[in-house]
């Protein structure tokens, strides 16, 4: 139960951060990605603030034997730079540039009642399910 409450609070802080940083506004994202137009550096400041905090915070957190509310850390162990990583990230990048939404801001915009998020989010979930279906068929599961 404690883990559910802590996840709720962390999620709320994350959503607040996205809104304060204006990452929920696709025109801000597209302004950053448009290097050859009216460039908006906001996303770079978000990354500096966010990665700056995790560089310090994660070192502190992972320095502990275990998390405060669980017996083990659940961090990715895969290290390989393989084809799925590169191809998947490339496909994600194309979609991100088309609409200006990545998963977090799209979900927040949906909750905020923004019309375009109501189209984007169901398509995003469908895309994720299609990937799982294709991958499971190929893996023969």
């Amino acid at each position: 139960m404690k883990r559910v409450v802590s996840a709720l609070l962390a999620g709320a802080l994350f959503g607040l951060g996205l809104a304060v940083a204006r990452m929920t506004d696709p025109t801000v994202i597209l302004g950053f990605l448009d290097l050859f137009g009216r460039f908006d550096p906001s996303l770079a400041f978000v990354m500096i603030g966010g990665v700056g905090a995790t560089l310090i915070g994660f070192r502190f957190a992972l320095g502990r034997a275990h998390p405060l509310l669980d017996s083990d850390f659940h961090v990715p162990t895969v290290k390989a730079i393989d084809r799925p990583l590169v191809v998947g990230s490339a496909i994600f990048g194309i979609g991100w540039g088309l609409a200006g939404y990545c998963p977090g801001p799209a979900l927040v915009a949906l909750a905020g009642g923004v019309s375009t998020a109501f189209v984007f989010v169901p398509a995003m979930i469908a895309g994720s399910l299609i990937q799982r279906f294709v991958f499971q068929r190929r893996a023969g599961v």
Binding site: A7, F14, T116, F120, A123, G127
Partner: protein, 140 residues
């Protein structure tokens, strides 16, 4: 507040959230990964923290958007939004992360895998915007 300063501040809040989730629950705050876990059959305690994180994200984020008076839609048309959504969902699941999982968390863990992912999706997104705005010539 100057938009660059609020971007920096918002970024710190996101990084603090990711730190809290790791310190308390030992979990990575990658939005695509957390959502994907919800669409998979798994144990109920695995499901509960994910649902709680997404609920907190949506309720607090949606409310904050309104306080701050932002509800700008995407300039993309409905067909483009559908294609974009499909690509983002498919790509983040195949690539094992998005802007938060690979970007905020992966870079914070000094993961080479995440650094490669971030460089690839940033480059492709810049290319995607370039084609839409400067080759096809659709400008919002």
């Amino acid at each position: 507040m100057h938009p660059w300063l609020s971007a920096l501040f918002g970024g710190v809040l996101i990084g603090l959230s990711a730190t809290l989730l790791l310190l308390l629950n030992g979990r990575i705050a990658g939005i695509s990964g957390i959502v994907n876990g919800l669409t998979q059959q798994s144990r109920s305690d695995e499901w509960a923290w994910r649902a709680a994180f997404i609920a907190g994200l949506m309720v607090a984020g949606g409310a904050a958007m309104h306080w701050l008076g932002q509800a700008t839609p995407s300039p993309a048309s409905v067909p483009v939004l559908i294609v974009a959504g499909l690509l983002v969902g498919f790509g983040t699941r195949l690539g094992g992360g998005c802007t938060s999982g690979h970007g905020i968390c992966g870079l914070g863990r000094l993961s080479k895998r995440s650094l490669v992912a971030v460089c690839v999706f940033m480059a492709m997104a810049v290319g995607s915007v370039f084609v839409v705005r400067h080759v096809v010539g659709v400008s919002p």
